[in-house]
Structure formats: C-alpha cells, structure tokens
C-alpha cells in the first residue's frame, strides 16, 4: 500500500484576528488540534470559518495571532512554504493535466524524481479508488471524481496539515455522503491532522473527531459531535445544530417553567423572568388525548414527515407549533388531525439568546 504521511502534528491557532475594511471576519480564534485529529469548523456563511482556514493555509495574512504547526511558528510563511495540502470548494484540478499529472504536480515541486513521482501518484490515485482514471483530464471526470483526485493531490506531498474547504458542497447528496465517508477513511489511513470547513452540520457531525461551531468570527463551542448536539454550550449552538423548538416560558428558582412543565437549565445563572426555552424535538413525546379538555400541552397533529426510522410530527398547540421526533412506528399512531398530549423530557435546556439583527462578518 501507499507510503503514508505518518503521525500528524499538533496544530495550534492562537488568538487569530482578521478584518476586512473595518469588518471583523475573525475575532480572536484560538484552537488546538491534536496530532492526527480531524476538526470540523461549522457555522453559517460569513462566520469566519473559511477565513480561519485561509489563514492556516497562508493564503491570507492575519492581523494578529499565531499559527503553529508542531510547535513551529509558521505565521510569517507564504502558502507555498507551509507544507499544507488543501482541497477547495470549487473544482481545482489543473485542466491541462491528467489526473496523474495533477497528483504528481506537487511532487515535482518538491524535487521528487520522475520514477518516484509516477509511483507515488499511482499509489495516491489507488488510495482514492481512481487508478483507472489516471489518464483522464478534469473535464472527463465527474465532480466527485475531481474532488477525489484533488484529495489525492493534496495528500501526495505528505503535508503537515490537510485543509478541506467545503470540498463536498458542489456535489449532489448521494455523492456527497459517499465521498464524506471516503475522506474520513483516507484521513484515518494517512493520519494527517485535518481541518475541515463546512456549513453542513450533518457533514461536520458525521466526519469530525471534534466540531467547532463558529459565529460572528468567534468559536462558540469546540467539542465532540455528541456533545455539540446534546449539550450545546450556547443558545446559538443549540439553534444552529439540529432542530429546536422555541417554547415561551418563565425562569424562576433555577428552572424554566414551560406550559406547566418544569425543566432544568443548562446555564444556572439565567436571569429570572419571561424567557424562550430551546427544546429538542427528540425531547418531546406524544400520547393520545381523545376528547379531553384543552390544556397547555394538548394540541392537534398537523403534519407527519416520514424520515425513515424516525418521523417528525408537527403539533399545533393553538398559540405555537411544536415539533416532536419519534420512532416511525410510534408516530404512525398519530396521523394528521388527531388530538395529542405532549410531554417534554426534563433534559437541561438553554434559553434563547436575545434576537438581534443579523450581522454579516
């Protein structure tokens, strides 16, 4: 099999800042990636995730802060001296070269001999399952194949760090899912420390060892995918990752009372008073209510969306609409039009942040 890059190195970003014409794109990002780790930066458009990646790649200069690869400060190095491999969102294969020539391009710049170039580029194409396509030009490859060649090209130079800038976003859903698994397999095989930027939460949660959720140039939370989803540290993370019900209630005595149900708070210092609790659809369960008297958690099913093993049930409570995610067998007992009683599992909940006008960073 191929020669791998061996163990990755630690990558540390220290208080990185970058602004464009007075608009802050990155506001003090600090992040440490363990050797061989795959960290996904997740966030909405304009949150600064791509800026962070470009600073790591050396394609842009930071206003302040440091980038360290394996304890070595590379902040002042230009992109071609940083020893990073990068896969871009846009198709980036050199159109006048075949797949094999593309993969060998970086090797030729690193003064690798012609025979070794051919051998190693062949191994890399084999790694991404495209040996048969070595002599094809970019325009003769599908989007997914082009991105796989781009991955092989980035890995061929045995980079210190692998950077993936939304490499799947131009692909259709089926190819995206397959290539996502492929990237993870290859990354585990070569062991290169990898930074993956995406706005697709499913992608980030599926592929990464840790996910960093970014907002307005800052890192809101950096944790395992499970923790990000089930224990979001901030209201932004709770609302951005996964679906969330926004249910009005009242905070008092360290709890939030939501339509007659008391729920514990994640942030115990939440001020007392009216508030909006953020409740996951999985924390909502349904029971048949028949014709019982109206109550705060009794409503009518208005839609059932089949998602495979689970279904999402939309319930109208009169003043608000609540989503519940249930096993499909259970959801089928509550078709649209039936009256149901909701129950909310007493998981710790976050309180929604104050509404602000969206800020483009």
């Amino acid at each position: 099999m191929m020669a791998t890059a061996g163990a990755g190195v630690e990558v540390r970003l220290e208080d990185l800042r970058r602004s464009y014409a007075g608009v802050t794109a990155l506001d003090g990002l600090s992040l440490t990636m363990a050797p061989g780790e795959l960290v996904a930066l997740l966030g909405p458009s304009g949150c600064g995730k791509t800026t962070a990646m470009r600073l790591v790649a050396g394609l842009e200069e930071a206003n302040s802060g440091r980038v360290m690869f394996g304890g070595k400060d590379v902040t002042g190095l230009p992109a071609n001296k940083r020893d990073v491999g990068m896969v871009f969102q846009a198709y980036s294969l050199f159109p006048h070269m075949t797949a094999q020539q593309n993969v060998a391009f970086g090797l030729s710049l690193h003064k690798v001999g012609a025979a070794e170039q051919k051998k190693r580029s062949g191994e890399m194409l084999e790694l991404v399952g495209l040996s048969k396509y070595a002599n094809r030009y970019a325009h003769q490859l599908s989007g997914g194949q082009q991105q796989r060649v781009a991955l092989a090209r980035a890995l061929a130079i045995q980079p210190t760090v692998l950077l993936l800038d939304e490499p799947l976003s131009a692909l259709d859903a089926k190819v995206r899912s397959r290539l996502r698994d492929e990237i993870r397999r290859v990354q585990l095989e070569v062991g290169t420390t990898t930074l993956f930027v995406t706005h697709d939460q499913e992608e980030a949660l599926a592929i990464a060892d840790r996910v960093g959720v970014m907002n307005a140039g800052r890192l809101e939370q950096l944790d395992s995918p499970v923790a990000i989803y089930s224990r979001p540290a901030t209201p932004f993370v709770a609302e951005f990752v996964g679906l969330t019900n926004r249910i009005p209630g009242t905070v008092k005595f360290g709890m939030v009372e939501v339509r007659g149900t008391e729920l514990p708070l994640v942030q115990h210092d939440t001020p007392t008073g009216p508030a909006t609790a953020l409740v996951r659809p999985e924390a909502v369960s349904l029971a048949s209510e028949g014709d019982s008297v109206p109550g705060p958690l009794i409503g009518t099913v208005i839609a059932v969306a089949f998602l495979g093993a689970t279904s999402r049930v939309t319930v109208d409570l009169g003043d608000i609409v609540v989503l519940a995610q249930l096993p499909t067998a259970e959801a089928s007992a509550h078709p649209a039009g039936t009256r149901v009683r909701l129950a909310i599992r007493p998981d710790p909940v976050l309180i929604a942040r104050e509404e602000k006008a969206p800020v483009e960073a």
């Binding site: 940083r82 990073v84 871009f88 050199f94 159109p95 396509y133 325009h139 003769q140 599908s142």
Partner: protein, 287 residues
C-alpha cells in the same frame, strides 16, 4: 431535432458561410487577378509583379522589419499585460475597471493625435538614443493594448484563476511556477489570439510609421505602389495570406476541449472526441 429542420439549419449555415467567404475572398481574388495582369488587356497572365517583390531590397527590408516589430510588440504586450492582468484579478480586483479603461483608451484616441503627442519624444530618442525603426514597438504596444486586453480578459475569465493559483501555491508553487505551469498553459488560445491581433495590427500599421518617418511594410507598399501598382497589390495580398495562415494555425492550436461528456456518463475506455473547429463551422453534422 427533426431531419428537415437539421437540413434547413445546414443550408442556413452554408449560405452564411458562402456569403461571408465571398465578402472576404472576392476582393482578395480581384487583387490577385490585378497583380497577375500583363501590361495590356490582351497580355497573358504573369507573376512578374510577385517576382518583383524579391527584387525590391527596400520592400524586403520593410517586410523583415515589420515582422521584427510584430514579434517585439507581441512579446512586449504579453510581458506587460499578462502579469498585470493576473495580478489585478488575484490581488487588486478593485482596480480592474481602471486597468480596463486605460487599456481600451487608445481605441478612442485618433492615431494622428497620438502621433502628434509622441512625435517630440521620438525625435528626442532618435537624436539621443537610437534611430532604429524598432523603437516604433513602444507606440505599437499602446495601439495593440485594446485588442490584446480583450483577448486576454476572455481567456482569464474562462478559468478559475484564483482557485487554480491557490491550489498550486498550496502544493508548493512560487508565483513563477503558477504563471508558467498553471495559468499560461490554460489560456494558450487567448495568448495566441492576443498575439495574432498584435501581429495583424502591427503588419497593417501605416500612420505612425509614415508620420514618424520610418519605413515599415505598409509605408514600403505605398512607395512601391507609386512605381508599380501590381507589385504593391501583390505584397498586400501576400500579407493578407500571411494573416490567414496565422489564423489557421491558431484554429488548430486553439481547438476547444470537449466539455460536455463527464466521467459518470462515459463508458470505460472511451476517449474524448474533439471536433475540428472548421467542421463544426461549415455544418458537418455531429455523429
């Protein structure tokens, strides 16, 4: 597409092709006819005027000088314009419009106004530096800018120069490598176009050379025309044929790659099929 519609389309294409061909070829044909006439209406056809080209040392010298000027201007244009346009696209997109305006400006200024403007400078250069005709290439560089700019701009727009250069940089390429191994090979057609336009403009240029007292091809033709109309017409036809030959070479170098067949749809082992430009132009049906 139905068969009758396809036939109609082919007839339409052929008609347009014939009309355009006649528009270009009839004047050249009549010029050739004129250049091969004898001294009287009843005289037999003769290539005397063509043979006379090679007996005119001034004319031969002017042809050589004009070709030198064409090469120097083309190289100068590429050296000046290509890195500037690439840099503007990558690093200074905000000045793109200004550069475009400056490059297109010579189109709006009459040649005579430019000559009046540069004449004192040229006289100073002739007295103090050199009186070689090759210094005309400086002013030719200015007059080819609008045409070359458009050709190069089209080439740069056709590729994602930012992503390609960043990909090459991340693989360890310096700016020189990015330029010569990534950008230039991907816009060879645009470079050839820009060069061809420069060559055509320089070979056809008369005003600057005449008013600055240099003898290039067109000035020499006009002088020969005073003595022998047949020879001057023969040189004109020869220069047009030379330009057509360049165009033919360009059409072979610049054949477009097939873009519509993508990996998923291709059967293993199938090769991409490239239709020659001339076939698609005259309406040879795709198989």
């Amino acid at each position: 597409m139905s068969r009758s519609r396809r036939i109609k389309l082919q007839v339409f294409r052929a008609t347009i092709f014939i009309l355009l061909g006649a528009f270009f070829l009839v004047p050249i044909g009549t010029m050739f006819e004129f250049s091969t006439r004898g001294n009287s209406v009843t005289s037999p056809r003769t290539m005397e005027a063509w043979a006379a080209i090679f007996r005119e040392p001034d004319l031969m010298k002017a042809i050589g000088v004009s070709l030198e000027l064409a090469v120097i201007t083309s190289v100068g244009m590429l050296v000046l314009l290509l890195p500037t346009m690439v840099w503007v696209r990558l690093r200074l997109p905000q000045v793109h419009r200004i550069v475009e305006f400056l490059c297109l400006l010579p189109l709006t200024i009459p040649a005579i106004a430019l000559v009046v403007g540069v004449a004192p400078l040229y006289h100073w250069i002739e007295i103090n530096v050199t009186d070689s005709i090759l210094i005309l290439s400086f002013v030719y560089l200015i007059i080819v800018l609008p045409y070359s700019y458009r050709a190069l701009d089209a080439g740069l727009s056709a590729i994602d120069i930012k992503t390609l250069s960043e990909a090459a940089r991340s693989l360890g390429a310096g700016w020189g490598t990015v330029m010569f191994r990534v950008i230039v090979p991907n816009m060879s057609t645009a470079l050839l176009n820009a060069c061809l336009l420069s060559v055509a403009v320089v070979l056809g240029e008369f005003t600057f050379a005449q008013l600055l007292y240099f003898e290039n091809l067109q000035v020499a033709i006009s002088y020969v025309g005073l003595v022998s109309a047949g020879t001057s017409i023969a040189v004109s036809v020869a220069s047009l044929i030379f330009a057509f030959m360049l165009l033919m070479i360009l059409s072979f170098f610049g054949r477009p790659r097939e873009r519509e067949v993508r990996g998923e749809e291709m059967l293993p082992g199938t090769e991409s099929r490239v239709l020659p430009l001339r076939n698609s132009f005259i309406g040879v049906p795709d198989k």
